[in-house]
Amino acid sequence: MSRSPGRIPKEIDDLIWKLTEDGTPAAFDQFRARYPEYAKTLGNRLQMVDRLKGSRPMAEKVQVPKFRPTAVQSVSRPFWSPLAVGMVGVAVAAVITTAFLYLPRSSAPKQVINRETPSVAQGFAPNGEETPKQTGSDQTIPEQHKPTVPPSIQDSGNGSDDRPAYLAPQTLAIRNAKLSLVVEAVAQQGKFSVSIGPGLADPVISVDYRGVNSIEILQDLGRQYAFTPFDQGDGTVIIVPARDPNAEPLDKSVDSTPATPTP
């Protein structure tokens, strides 16, 4: 008789197992009579199960020892688990260190720039004639925190002052730039937008204002170059190419050098 389960039909095999588990002598005889070719298989199976059941450690053979609570060893963790935990810890520490050193910080301290004493003085080089000159604290400004104003503009409007930027004293030193660019630079420093009306003369000029707010700079430029700034009240200033007859001259107490046209 082959022992391969594939040669015994499944229903016969199941029946043999059932007889092995719950069979009676009468049921065995009935099976042998009906399937004589599997009689030996049934006999082998019965013997196997009997031997398996007989291998159970008998109660009388096992003397019940006194219960002694023992230290329960941890077997759920493999031997390499401490190593894995350590490596994960090192990886996490490396990621945190990298992030701390190199990634931008959302709460980066604001750059405090003394508006009264500018730390930057650089030339405006629309024609590439002069290269920008950088000094002082500007070199420490992270790239993402640099102001969006053109590189020719001195950044002096980011102070912690409560005054609006357009009223805060500014420092602006630009050489050899067109008037329209200077006006836009003043607007950017004062955090407002500017709209220049048609017909405005656009000469190349140089300016050097210190301790003057953006509005005053515009008014002073307007007196020199025949335009009048009008505040629209919505953060926009319109430059009208006409002189304001009521305009007063710039306060002479502030340190300013009026714009001078560059030939």
């Binding site: 022992r3 389960p5 197992w17 199976r45 196997m48 199960v49 031997r51 398996l52 059941k53 007989g54 291998s55 159970r56 450690p57 109660a59 096992v62 019940v64 020892p65 219960f67 002694r68 609570p69 023992t70 329960v72 060893q73 077997v75 759920s76």
Partner: protein, 201 residues
């Protein structure tokens, strides 16, 4: 001395109900011992230990296939039970909860032992002292059992040695009855194949 009439009449249905409860097939006498132990009676745990030592030992020995390891495992299993008895929620019988602990612990230990022996140096293995007489009454069954996984051994032990029903096996293995039945049949078939191989050797 006679009890007051009123007390007697009131106690009769209470006693009767308690007796009925003990006759119920769902009544678990072990739970009374558990309750007594949790109330501070250390002797109650000793009774549980004595009552189930053999069955737990059979599970441990069947899975671990080693008498000494099984004896140690039994102590560990009952220590675990002692520590965690407060967590026994009584939704199942105490015995099935105990067998579940025993099966899980034995399987864990068998896996650890298998790994340990797998890494024993050959010279060290040769130096081991062989037992003077075979530890097992039936080496053929032992050899076939050795070839099975600890999980399969646990199923066969619960069914053939501890004679648990499929329902009890399912509870002990934390699975449903059909899954237990399927797993048992597969384990049984694998055992038969290994058993027949041994016969052929």
């Amino acid at each position: 001395m006679t009890l007051p009439e009123t007390n007697t009449s009131e106690n009769v249905p209470v006693v009767s109900a308690a007796l009925d409860r003990t006759k119920s097939p769902s009544f678990d006498e072990d739970v009374l011992l558990v309750d007594r132990f949790l109330a501070g009676d250390q002797g109650a745990f000793e009774q549980l230990y004595a009552r189930y030592h053999d069955k737990v030992f059979a599970i441990a020995r069947g899975v671990l296939l080693d008498q000494e390891e099984a004896a140690d495992a039994v102590q560990e299993i009952f220590t675990l039970v002692l520590r965690n008895l407060v967590r026994f929620d009584k939704r199942s019988r105490f015995s099935t909860w105990l067998f579940r602990v025993a099966v899980n612990r034995s399987i864990q230990q068998a896996r650890r032992a298998r790994f340990k022996y797998k890494h024993v140096e050959l010279t060290e293995a040769n130096d081991r002292v062989q037992p003077e007489e075979p530890e097992y009454a039936d080496p053929k069954v032992h050899t076939a059992m050795q070839k099975l996984s600890p999980n399969d051994r646990a199923l066969l032990v619960l069914f053939y040695w501890d004679e648990l029903s499929l329902n009890e096996i399912a509870e002990s293995l934390a699975c449903n009855v059909n899954a237990a039945k399927t797993r048992l049949y597969r384990a049984r078939e694998r055992f038969r194949l290994f058993y027949d191989e041994v016969e052929d050797e």
